[in-house]
Symmetry: C2
């Protein structure tokens, strides 16, 4: 495996997607959805991906006209039934005819069901997890956080799977040996009242003893200790991860989701986020995501997907 | 009760503290602590509070000299034993000889134990809760969040007490009828897997039926729906709280603590935060808090404390 070049910013993800030897194929289904069409058109215009649209051809053509989205360079597969459209898109990814699955006019639950289908799905044996990518406080490097959207209350075993997907993503963006912080409200291990601190102890011990490898892990850490060397020093905490974490693992979905949304709504940050663990990365953007976040997300999926 | 004037920013809290008819007395114990002494000296210089120092007189005098903190306008009570110093400070607050208790060179646990002491403490029958104050995304008004520091995993009953302390604080800062959002990762009620969404349903129903009064409550809300009218509209959610929440109640301590620290370390925000529920507000700043945050915290305690 050649070592991936380090990608330091969200804009660098766009550049990396453009530099790929072949354009990744993103299949949007059902494609009769304005924000999906619009963001794929923009990704195409920038040379980031090659779009495939699966859905109701008549409605797609009409919608594209009203949005002034040119369809000339997009493949189009007619499948008016939304659920069958998603299944067809999943089939394209399974057969290697597309690289990335993108949710259109259908609920996330229905997409996940099609992806997890035993016979015709995209299951790879890994846990499906959402990985969010954003820039560090000083904006000099990328950071990863999980899981704000898919896994509700993961135990230590599930957290290890969440970590593995995040580590794979970090490696693809050039971080050879990621630094993982297991977050909680405190650095004290409190197995009775704060299970997240116990999970952190278990997992960091597994990295210490070499049962898990390829990364440095530390925690439980407050977010301050994970991202600020000054805060870590104030609290007397050292080690390779303190103040310099690449990957933040949240205790459960509420804290991860609130973290994500604080970055967007208070810190004014753009993000990129994909669902990993299936045979193809999945793009599940939200209507309220900014246009930039949607574009970064498609580019991130392009960089993470495909065979390279 | 006269209606409090609306305070819109952290700097306005400083001004409000200065405008109080009498300077609030803040008692720092044990006072032989550099950042406590420094921030109280700054608060005194700005005319925000009147400091009282309880602790080892010799060490305090020496420390003040090395920090160039003038002690002339500070009361000084000699009590070399740290635990007894805290107990003496609690006694001053209990007898109304001081208005605000400030943690010095001792652990928060030990301060809380002295405050909760049945015979000689400051218990008022209310739950002790940490309330954090910060500026809204557009910085045009203040918002409140709880509980990032004291209550680990509150059930619905405890959350009501957390809300009551936050509502009391919001009222003192001029928000007559606060809008409360109960946060979770989603707007869907999922009693089986996401207890925070069930707590949100219980509490909002209690406000709807008039069992709880004096505020509007809504949730479960993602943070986006609570603070962004655009996000609320995208998700089809309306009502008085959506996009305009004054008070954010987090599911438990991890999410609240991560929210707090994301505001500080990614959004670059200053904060103010006090522990409420005892007969006097408590200031429990952390060594890594910025000087501005420490000053805003003392000013907030001044505005919330005392008899007015």
């Amino acid at each position: 495996m050649t070592r991936a070049k380090l990608i330091r910013s969200l804009d660098d993800i766009l550049d990396a997607a453009k530099r790929l030897a072949t354009r990744r194929k993103v299949v949007l289904a059902p494609a009769e959805q304005d924000e999906g069409l619009r963001s794929l058109a923009e990704a195409l215009r920038r040379g980031i991906v090659a779009p495939v649209l699966v859905g109701d051809r008549n409605r797609i053509v009409k919608l594209a006209r009203s949005l002034r989205v040119p369809l000339g360079k997009m493949e189009l597969v007619d499948e008016p039934d939304p659920l069958r459209a998603v299944q067809a898109a999943v089939g394209l990814c399974r057969r290697g005819e597309a690289d990335i699955l993108m949710k259109g006019a259908i609920s996330t639950d229905q997409v996940l069901r099609a992806v997890l289908d035993r016979e015709n799905g995209l299951a790879s044996g890994k846990l499906l997890t959402h990985v969010t990518v954003f820039e560090s406080p000083d904006r000099k490097r990328l950071m990863f956080m999980s899981d704000p959207a898919v896994n509700i209350n993961p135990d230590a075993g599930r957290k290890i799977e969440i970590i593995q997907n995040a580590v794979a993503a970090a490696r693809k963006l050039g971080i050879a040996r990621p630094k993982i912080a297991l977050l909680a409200a405190t650095e004290k291990i409190n197995p009775k009242d704060m299970p997240a601190t116990a999970d952190a102890a278990i997992i960091t011990k597994m990295y210490e003893t070499g049962q898990l490898t390829g990364a440095d892990a530390a925690g439980p850490f407050g977010l301050d200790v994970a991202v600020s060397s000054f805060a870590a020093e104030c609290k007397g905490i050292s080690g390779p991860v303190a103040g310099k974490a690449d990957i933040l693992i949240c205790p459960e979905i509420n804290s991860a989701n609130i973290f994500y949304k604080t970055l967007v709504y208070f810190a004014g940050r753009e993000m990129a986020g994909v669902v990993l663990g299936a045979k193809a990365p999945m793009v599940v953007t939200s209507r309220s995501d900014s246009a930039a976040t949607k574009l970064y997300t498609i580019a991130l999926a392009a960089v993470l997907g495909g065979g390279e």
